[in-house]
Symmetry: C2
Subunit: 134 residues, 2 copies
């Protein structure tokens, strides 16, 4: 157990084999090879790809993850820079969430307007309302 061919691994982590080979080209995850030069992945790789997917889920770009991977390779002396990198991603990601929320507010208001929850004949039109968001 704890050795997976690329197909099996792809199933396990919810990616396609295409994507895994692509990530490998991009240096995100480099599996070992067997006697026939075939890739195999282990449980460390499962954990690592899991973490990568969390990073991607925050909106971190592949190029940034590449940078993170390179720092990681250089050992503990880069911990501070790695932390800074993650902090800047975190900051940006939170800002994106807030921006999206504010756009969602406008969309929600429009839905309410369609719902008739807001009078269609009131003095303030939807467009007037929108102005307040700028």
């Amino acid at each position: 157990m704890s050795k997976y061919g690329i197909g099996e691994f792809a199933n396990k982590v919810g990616l396609t084999t295409y994507t895994l080979r692509y990530y490998e080209k991009q240096n995100l995850i480099i599996p070992k090879r067997d006697e026939n030069d075939r890739r195999y992945y282990d449980d460390e790789d499962v954990k690592w790809i899991g973490f990568i997917l969390h990073l991607k889920g925050t909106g971190m770009l592949m190029s940034e993850i590449q940078e993170y991977v390179e720092l990681r390779k250089q050992g503990d002396s880069t911990i501070d820079r790695r932390k800074q990198l993650l902090e800047s991603v975190k900051k940006r990601s939170l800002a994106e969430i807030n921006e999206r929320k504010s756009h969602l507010n406008v969309l929600s208001h429009k839905i309410d307007w369609y719902d008739g929850k807001l009078s269609h004949k009131v003095d303030e039109s939807f467009e007037e309302y929108l102005k307040r968001f700028r």
Copy 2:
């Protein structure tokens, strides 16, 4: 006043002229033309592009905005379908926010770990911790 050439309008709304012509090709906004066939935009267009940018800000795809625009052209009989469309976008967008938040939790935890706020020698490794998120 309240008539803008494409350059002026682009400045006003924070887009490039390229993007505006592209949006026009995609039927998102169709400005009027003067005697020389040059585009001009008015304050209605300012409001409309503002709304479009809110929609884009929620993660709504151009193809979905196109659909919305087509329904709008067909008049009040499509209000219900427009509302449904916006509701499905809203639902998806909220789900995306929540997913991103959960990824951000993991990233924050990693930052704390780097910070030494979490002991590096504790029984539970970062990888063990991560498992709980799956």
